[in-house]
């Protein structure tokens, strides 16, 4: 349990969050579950940004600023996606993403 914590440890944590989000997006049939997967992916990216800003002084401000941009854009994305999900639920009375196939060619 001892030993110095390096950049790689944080990057592996970010990769784990990213993969969990990708698998969540692929397996959940509920549209809100897909949205939860997107949030996990964005958090993995945020962990990477902040880890680089801590371990590399050239990115000290940039990493934090881009993590803040990611958080703000994720909030906007969640608002629009939930509005779309609610609209879809009003029209189809379901939140199953498999039934959203009107645009299928």
């Amino acid at each position: 349990m001892s030993g110095a914590i390096l950049l790689e440890h944080y990057l592996v944590l970010g990769a784990l969050l990213f993969v969990c989000g990708a698998v969540c997006m692929a397996t959940k049939r509920n549209a809100i579950g897909v949205l939860i997967g997107v949030e996990l992916v964005l958090n993995g990216a945020g962990v990477n940004f902040v880890a680089f800003s801590h371990f590399n002084p050239a990115f000290r401000l940039e990493g934090m600023i881009f993590a803040l941009f990611v958080i703000v854009l994720a909030a906007g994305e969640a608002a629009v996606a939930l509005a779309i999900v609610l609209n879809f639920y009003n029209n189809h009375t379901t939140v199953d993403v498999d039934s959203a196939e009107e645009l299928k060619g």
């Binding site: 914590i5 809100i32 590399n56 958080i71 939930l82």
Partner: protein, 203 residues
């Protein structure tokens, strides 16, 4: 100090990873939202551990306080009993987990193959030179960036000290773009989610 840092990292990172995995494997959407709450809290703990106090606080405020409440409202508004527990077929689980493990292996391989690029070993690289120059990266006083510095970088004012290469960072244009983006999101979400009054006449 160092052992405390590594102990806290292993505890917080382990809890965060376990909660993220639990978010994926649960079938109940309410439980997935609850596990997401703990995951987001753990990520903010990681941010605090990395010395990014402002980012951790914003993570708690915006994500846990705002985005997660939005998600839970969405769950509550669409919580019909057939949608609470949507089973995924085991074939889809098998394919997804296989692809996920392959992706994780690939990413970990990529992470460990950059080893040395950001250390002092590669002295020719300008980033590595910058690392060597700012060698005080291990002390907390050097890594903690004040909120004022971040705000000045956002607004592009000239008060702060210049960076190592003499350039200043300006993020005024992305800041404005994000502001306009949030305004557009606000209007769009309100337009999309409002109650349709003319739906009878359209149908």
């Amino acid at each position: 100090m160092e052992s405390m840092h590594s102990f806290l990292f292993w505890v917080i990172a382990g809890l965060t990873g376990l909660c993220a995995i639990a978010t994926v494997v649960t079938d109940n959407i309410v439980r997935a939202a609850t596990w997401l709450l703990f995951t987001l809290g753990g990520v903010s703990g990681i941010f605090f551990l990395l010395g990014a106090d402002l980012v951790g606080a914003i993570q708690l405020l915006v994500y846990v306080g705002g985005t997660l409440v939005l998600v839970i409202f969405g769950v509550m508004l669409t919580a019909q009993s057939p949608f609470l527990n949507m089973k995924t077929s085991s074939a889809e689980w098998a394919i997804s987990i296989a692809v996920g493990i392959m992706l994780l292996t690939f990413l970990c391989f990529a992470v460990f193959s950059i080893k040395g690029k950001f250390g002092p070993a590669d002295a020719q690289h300008p980033v590595a030179q910058d690392v060597r120059r700012g060698d005080a990266a291990d002390s907390d006083a050097a890594t903690s960036t004040s909120t004022m510095q971040i705000g000045q970088a956002f607004l592009g004012v000239e008060n702060g000290p210049p960076r190592g290469d003499g350039k200043r960072v300006h993020y005024l244009l992305p800041f404005e773009i994000v502001s306009i983006h949030l305004l557009v999101v606000l209007i769009g979400a309100a337009y999309l989610a409002r109650a349709k009054k003319r739906r009878e006449t359209m149908l």
